[in-house]
Amino acid sequence: MSKSYIGEFEELVLTIVAILQEEAYGNAIVGEIKAKVGREVNLSAVHVTLYRLEDKGYVKSGMGGATNERGGRRKRIFTITNAGLAILKDMKESRMDLWKLIPQLNFG
């Protein structure tokens, strides 16, 4: 089976979903990306990416409980699936393998 491929932004969002666990929803992901990576991303871009990841089976989503915040709207909480974890791990490893192949330069 050929490996599925995910893009750089998809990988970033997927990683953040894994980090945030139960708290992974649109705004939180935008905030987390800004806090951890320092990158301003647009809410709609994150949403579209999340849906795409869901189509590919790397995340699943469900509606959280109603709160008093955000006008009483429920959050759509995303959680990473095993497949998602697997591909993250996969990508990390293949990158490490490639990294090792770079001649070790001496920055002295």
């Binding site: 929803y25 649109g26 705004n27 935008v30 647009n42 809410l43 709609s44 871009a45 949403h47 579209v48 849906y51 795409r52 989503s61 509606m63 008093n68 915040e69 955000r70 006008g71 009483g72 709207r73 429920r74 959050k75 759509r76």
Partner: protein, 907 residues
Amino acid sequence: MPNKHLHKGLATRWLRFLRWFCPPNLYEGIEGDLLEQFEVDVETLGDIKARRRFKWNVLRFFRPGILMRNSFNRHLMNTGMFGNHLKVSYRQLTKNRAFTIVNVLGLSLGMSAAFLIYQYVGYEKSYESLHANKGQIYRVTTVWNRQTVADDARATTVPWSGPSVKDAFPEVLEYTRFAPLSVFTGEYWAVYNEVSLADLEVFFADPGFLKIFSFKLLQGDADLALSDPFSLVITASSAAKFFGSQNPMGKLITIDSHGNLGPATFGESNFKVTGVIQDPPGNSHMNFDFLISYSTIFPGLSNGSTYWHWDYTYTYLLIKEGSNIAELENRISKLRVAQHGDEMTYFSDAIDFRLQPISDIHLHSALKNELKVNGDGNGVFLLQLVMIGILLSAYINYINLSTVKAIERSREIGVRKIIGSTRRQLVGQLLVESALLKLLSVIVAFLISASSILFIENAFELKWPAWQNGIVTTSMIASAIAIVVAGILLSVVYPVLIITRIKVIEALKGGRQGAAGFGRKIELRKVLIVVQFVFCVAFTTGTWSLYQQLRFMKDYDLGMNMDQVIVVKGYGSQSPKVYESFKSKLNGVSFVESVGFSSAAPGDEVNLLGLKANVTVGDQTEPKELKIVSIDEDFFNTLEIALLAGRSFDPANIADQKSAIVNESAARLLGFEDPFEIVDEPMHNLQEVDSRIVGVIKNYNQLSLKNSYEPIVYVPYKEWDRSWNSRFFFVKVTGGTTGNRYQEALAEIEAAWKEAAPEQPFQYFFLDSHFENKYQAETVFTSLFLFFSLFAIIIACLGLFGLVAYSTIQRTKEIGIRKVLGATVENILALLSKDFFRLILVASLLAVPIVWLALESWLNTYAFRIDVDLWLFIVPLLSVFGLALATVILRSWRVAVSNPVNSLRYE
């Protein structure tokens, strides 16, 4: 507090927008995120910025990644039933073959008529669309001498009105004059090495010509090409004729007019090519082959004062946008008086300048001296009406027939509903069916249009403009398609409404009565039939009257006999010797009855010899303007024009060199009701010569019957010879009119011409066909109307046919019972046709007054016309009624003669 900062209206408006495009299952999560983001933003960025960002964020969600998650494509088209719809439609269409044919034929006839007329009208309206600033280009026209002759409005103007107007008024950005060489020379031809061509359109033009108009200059410098005297700009096609593949720039072309070019250039006739310009397209009112720089013209004629009132040139101005045109017209007229008022010896204050938008020239200009035979704005407008009428009738037909069909199928619809068909599926079925029908009609329509164009082009000798290259634009095609599609949508709605309203139980129980409120619907259908026949009657009566007027004009006694008269064109500066020898040679030929000479051929505008005659007779003081025609002593008897009083010229009488003959109208204009009284009166001021009036002729139609008789004074040819005269020899041929005889006669005449004037081309025409050509526009329009009226009649009859079919089916049982009770076939036929007759009668009553009024106003443009009376309407009305009757009987005959047993035995 939740989103307390968000303005209520704003929030709901933007969120409603979000909800509209966002898939419902994602909506809540997205909305929540947006609101949360907004709350954060309010804290950190402030209210205004946060709100702006909120809108922006909502807008950012409007992207394919979200939009495409909607599942709209699944429920919009029910693909499962589509195949079945197709199958059922096909069965329906083939089952009622007659019905389908009637429907398709009606629709496609309507569509092809619309296509054809659309193309024609589109072409007529596309005139001058070539010019980029056509909205700012105006032609200077003139109104002359309003005291004596009413409305002498001319397309030409004096050369003064170009340069002087531009100098005086800053809003006039550019000017160009555009003067035909022929006003100075008569016939001419152009020579380069071996190539010699006559029949060229040569004009003088100012440098502004290349700036005002958008004709593309292919070679040469637009600023300089028309500046120097004796510069020549030629069209691409004439460049190819003269120079082939050589570069034309700088070459010398000689323009010859047997000696010189008249007062235009006084002798010089070699022109240097300084530019090549694109050929003017067919949809321009200008047509030219050569443009000569205006500075070539002898300055006294160009802008000098001596001849300044000679209106030989056309003039175009480029005027700054937003200028007050009416006011500018007044200022130009006043400027003329201020600058040249005292030089108008004959015309005190009698010339008004007008500015005519260039886009009005082709369709809305009826001035004297137009460059081309213009189109007919009224005709184009009428054709558009015809188009709308035919299209409307065709769609009405379709609506009527489909409704009838739908009601017949109410049982099927009922069963479908019971099985569980949704409203949408029912409509889908009907849409598929009508789409199939329309597709078929469009194909047939294209076939009909294509063959119609071939037919029209052959039968009426008319070039269908849309077939010329580059004229059919994409926008024309797009709007044609739009018309068809709009019609389809409109005509589908009504039957669909009826069908889906059918109540199930009633449909199954009561059969045809199932259609709710059908009683009222039939009223609507009657109205539609009436509308159709209003158009039908209007077209037929209109066409018939057009035809009657045309026949009236062709049969009218013109006061002269043009039969068997061959006209030979003479040339400028022809010596009297040519005249003498040509005439004497012809007089020796056995079948030549007589030869006359005139400076104006009947049918043509009278060339004023470049001069004005403002004459007084006897001791009158008030001058009257007459037109001048120079003739020889044989002109009147050659054309059999009758003398009322006095005599014709006598060449043997020396005193006759200073004599004149007037026509009836001239005599009347000069105040002499009795023609005998004016004979022997002296006429003053006829070109500063005093002449004696020797005769009065009966009025004949110098111009076509659109124009009334003009007051004309005839003068002896020899004393009035001017090099720029037109010259026509009228040769009356005796004997039969068979082809061979004419060929023989022509050969003899040509031989005589070659002997008398060996260097000059022999050009001739037949006077009667020359005159009838003036009615070409009418002939073409009559033919077109006739053609399209046929369409309208066929469509209306098809509609009638369908409706009769329906009503006979409905009344089969009634007819059976009536027959059993003793009704005859005639009774039944009368019963069936009575209703429809009433409708057609109503339609006629509505149509006739409208046509009557329209005809009156159209006929008023003719000086000689038929009277509109009821008799004019009888023939077309009878034929419409006859056709309708035939249609009704054709369809109901079978029912009327059928054995009642067949229709009643199942009861």
